[in-house]
Symmetry: C2
Subunit: 210 residues, 2 copies
DNA sequence: ATCTGTGAAGCACTTCACAGCG
DNA sequence: CGCTGTGAAGTGCTTCACAGAT
């Protein structure tokens, strides 16, 4: 079956809320309550889940633990994902130091930079490789995800080379609209675009959406 | 007129591409070419722009400089926006040091933390205030945007207080689905959610979207 | 009585296709 | 002839509303 992309994007949200409920000892939750927590309509949650199976009990709701387990299985969150970071400037170092990835199964296992003053240095337990050696290093131990934290000018090149190394998911922090072949996922992390999308509504005369 | 929110989210993208074209000396661009650069269909670009007026010349395309100026006016990018940062831990410090905001007119003018070891310190030219003094400090010189970089547990509280201070746009780096009243914009920056939305497609048997 | 799962209806966004201008 | 601007058609997502399970 063909699942709408927006549905896939909401599942991690559900998983996170369920994890929180689980750790607070909650055993059952209704689509109603989950929806309240996440600003999503209950119907939306039920419809989203229905693409993958029937996980609830009528009259009761969803077993928190079981549904969480199912979502993890669906999304592939019950395993470790290996990531390569390209760019160890200010931004790259912040990403390397970010504590949020590990607990969710995402590990940066290689780091690259093209700046001579960086290459060879140790950082967060990793030796920084020369970006020129990308193909060689990733050939030896391939990764699942590439994180691009290089300046705009070199980002497309970095992405092209990651793709050539077989990387099929890229998290792009560079402020460009990158091109990737069909079959490769790419998501942009771009706070400036987010801000610029909000200023429109701050201007007098523009009413809020939805 | 009621503009679809997705349209507003694309305008900053167009503005960025136009800025790049402008600085490379380009005078005219067609929706076709702009679309190629941004992975957007030409029809989409033309339709999006048509919500705001008629900016192109038939047979020629769009004057780069003029269209850029129009988009800046529409989005409110031709002014400075004052921002307050809450949370100066690892993540908050990276945000404070981020060089991408300034050139686009976004300036962090206040920084807050609740940790005694941080309060009073100087950082990026700012004195870190006690989060307890949020209302007092923002009352004196209000800001347009709040950036939330505190742990999940205190994020909703930080957001509530920003809203009470009259802040109507929030950039939320905390991994929670926050609640804001109608009329307040909020955008999430959450790399883990982005990653989790991609792993689905990395699993064998799940074909790529679109 | 409560809450799920789901066809069907409704809505929002995208794309088509072409008239019209330069 | 090239390219915009735009109603109309098409697509995809959301919400409704209710049958059915507990």
């Amino acid at each position: 079956m063909e699942i709408p992309p927006v549905v896939i994007d909401r599942l991690p949200l559900y998983a996170r809320a369920l994890a929180s409920l689980e750790s607070s000892g909650r055993e059952v939750v209704s689509s109603q309550e989950l929806g309240q927590q996440l600003n999503v309509t209950p119907a939306q949650i039920r419809k989203d889940l229905s693409y993958f199976g029937r996980f609830g009990k009528q009259g009761r709701g969803y077993n928190v633990q079981k549904l969480l387990e199912e979502l993890r299985r669906i999304l592939g969150l019950n395993r470790q994902w290996r990531m390569a970071l390209i760019g160890t400037g200010r931004l790259g170092r912040a990403i390397l130091g970010y504590e949020g990835f590990g607990p969710q199964g995402f590990r940066i296992v290689e780091a690259f930079d093209s700046d001579a003053s960086m290459i060879g240095k140790e950082m967060a337990g990793l030796t920084i490789h020369d970006t020129a050696d990308l193909e060689k290093v990733l050939g030896a131990g391939p990764v699942d995800v590439g994180i691009v934290a290089v300046p705009a000018e070199t980002a497309q090149n970095a992405i092209d080379r990651l793709v050539k190394c077989g990387v099929r998911a890229i998290l792009n922090y560079a402020p460009i609209a990158a091109h990737v072949p069909r079959g490769v996922q790419i998501k942009r992390i771009d706070p400036v675009l987010s801000l610029q999308g909000m200023t429109y509504y701050l201007k007098a005369g523009n009413s809020s959406p939805k």
